[in-house]
């Protein structure tokens, strides 16, 4: 029986115009399909690569490895305090320009210029080539034409995005109605950051699937609640308060009674003492009125909103006034790097730091359970033993994600069919 009302015609899935038939996961098990996703999705959309707090002053920079977009980028703040981004490649002979010790590892810091390790070519904070070692040995070298290869960079609510699209849609337009509804949330006040990283043996979409539905929560995470509470949760099952979809982006809005719980016996002993847990410290900071996009159903039992900004950026806003991000960076069709950052208001005292630690560590215990399930799923869908899978109405966001990815690939390959015949096919 439904506890929360569904829209016409009686299901979220049909309401958003999606099919209700079983879904094929052949978009997650082949190198060929991944190549299409790289071109049709990761080289086309805006990608969130960080926050403005990572670039606090002139000359601050960080690098981001974007295997899915077949490149690495440098993002930096120039002498005027403006953001700049470039492909991380020296114009001389293609060495990766900024890296330390391990070329495939990301780095960050503050500098006055970028100097190539190979032959010492130097670029200023606007990407202009300023120094060439033994310049007079070169032929007709025009330094003005050899600046770093720029990448579009823009900021939404303090989140830094890049795109490799030649003529991109403005970022704010790209973020759409769901992005607009979050504008004004005080992300800039929540600067206490904990970041975790995992190499996961599954297709990137499978981990988004895992975090875009809570149908799994009463079962997979059963032991994280006390046993009586766990039995009740499983009997009731899971229903979201609301779902919304706008273009490629989506949100699931969920209840959450754990911050604080109605009955202290529902939670573990350490949570009772520290007044904190998965939903964060129970006594969060006062941040005033929330923007209209948060708790879209305006339900009193609201606990968390999980936004998926296409393709791989999730933003979770929690009732006790903190937020976290998930990023899923593909490295092959069946591997990806998962990154999550939890952001809190800076603790006023050491007790609040300890409360935040409990929230962070609880989250990590859940993520370890989620992460390991994915490898089990990946190996079995690759077996091809079963090719179609039924998705329920509480899995509407997964269905939408896979549908959107397929649609973009179809659009991309259609557009490409008029392209010149490849040389190999001519002879």
């Amino acid at each position: 029986m439904a506890h929360f009302r569904k829209p016409e015609p009686g299901s979220w899935t049909e309401h958003f115009g999606l099919a209700t038939s079983p879904v094929s996961y052949d978009d997650s098990i082949s190198a060929e399909h991944y190549e299409l996703e790289r071109d049709a999705i990761f080289r086309k959309t805006w990608l969130n690569v960080g926050r403005v707090e990572q670039l606090p002053k002139r000359g601050s920079f960080f690098t981001k490895e974007l295997d899915a977009a077949k490149t690495s980028v440098i993002v930096s703040r120039n002498g005027e305090g403006e953001l700049r981004a470039w492909h991380n490649i020296c114009r001389h002979r293609g060495n990766k320009l900024v890296w330390n010790d391990y070329p495939r590892e990301e780095t960050s810091g503050v500098c006055r210029q970028f100097t190539c390790k190979y032959h010492g070519w130097r670029y200023d904070l606007d990407g202009k080539l300023t120094f060439v070692q033994q310049e007079d040995e070169f032929f007709d070298l025009d330094k003005d034409k050899l600046g770093l290869a720029p990448v579009h960079v823009d900021v939404w609510e303090g989140f830094i995005f890049v795109t490799f699209e030649k003529d991109p849609q403005p970022l704010r337009d790209y973020m759409g109605r769901l992005g607009a509804g979050l504008e004004g949330y005080p992300f800039e006040l929540m600067t206490q950051k904990h970041t975790y990283r995992a190499e996961v043996g599954s297709n990137w979409k499978l981990f988004i699937d895992a975090f875009a539905e809570f149908y799994h929560a009463p079962v997979l995470h059963a032991k994280q609640a006390t046993s009586e509470e766990s039995r009740k949760l499983q009997a009731v099952g899971y229903e979201a308060l609301a779902y919304d979809i706008d273009g490629p982006h989506a949100v699931v809005s969920s209840w959450g009674g754990m911050s604080p719980p109605k009955d202290l016996e529902m939670v573990k002993p350490i949570e009772r003492v520290l007044r904190s847990g998965l939903f964060g410290p129970w006594d969060g900071p006062d941040i005033g009125e929330l923007p209209p996009g948060v708790n879209p159903a305006k339900h009193p039992a609201w606990g968390i909103d999980s936004f998926l900004f296409f393709p791989n950026f999730m933003l979770l806003v929690w009732k006790p006034n903190w937020y976290l991000t998930y990023h899923y960076w593909p490295t092959s069709y069946n591997t990806h790097i998962f990154e999550t950052s939890l952001y809190f208001a800076p603790p006023k005292n050491a007790y609040e730091r300890l409360q935040q630690e409990l929230a962070v560590v609880t989250f990590k215990e859940y993520a370890l359970q989620d992460g390991n399930t994915l490898e089990a799923t990946q190996t079995m869908i690759e077996s091809g033993a079963v090719t179609e899978f039924p998705l329920c109405d509480q899995e509407v966001l997964l269905r939408h994600l896979h549908t959107e990815c397929r649609r973009r690939i179809a659009e991309h390959t259609d557009g490409r069919s008029s392209a010149p015949t490849p040389i190999s096919a001519v002879s």
Binding site: H194, T195, Y196, I270, N349, A350, R353, E357, L368
Partner: protein
């Protein structure tokens, strides 16, 4: 010199759990037997309520070495609470070879 503030001196016996990184706290948990985890929990948990009250009066800015040690000791208690209160084993069940590693964490 005592590792912890005077009111918590009896926990000096568990000074090996004063670890400033979540990575090290988790590694020590995985490397410990359930008996070792239970012994630390049984000693530290009864002092957590007092510890919480004490830490409320400790500013993050300019925190002393002893107070910082107490924060990290109770942070280890947080890490150890999962095997003791929930899992009955050091590892998260069914987590196999999966690892999730901290790359950024605030340390006063």
């Amino acid at each position: 010199m005592a590792a912890l503030p005077a009111p918590f001196a009896e926990l000096d016996a568990y000074a090996e759990w004063i670890l400033p990184s979540e990575k090290d706290r988790y590694a020590k948990r995985i490397a410990s037997s359930m008996d070792e985890l239970q012994a630390f929990y049984d000693a530290a948990f009864p002092r957590l309520q007092d510890g919480a009250e004490y830490l409320k009066s400790v500013d993050i800015e300019g925190i002393s070495d002893e107070d910082r040690n107490l924060l990290w000791l109770f942070s280890s208690l947080v890490t150890v609470s999962f095997p003791v209160e929930v899992w009955r084993q050091a590892r998260v069940p069914d987590s196999g070879a999966a690892s999730v590693d901290v790359t950024v964490e605030p340390r006063p």
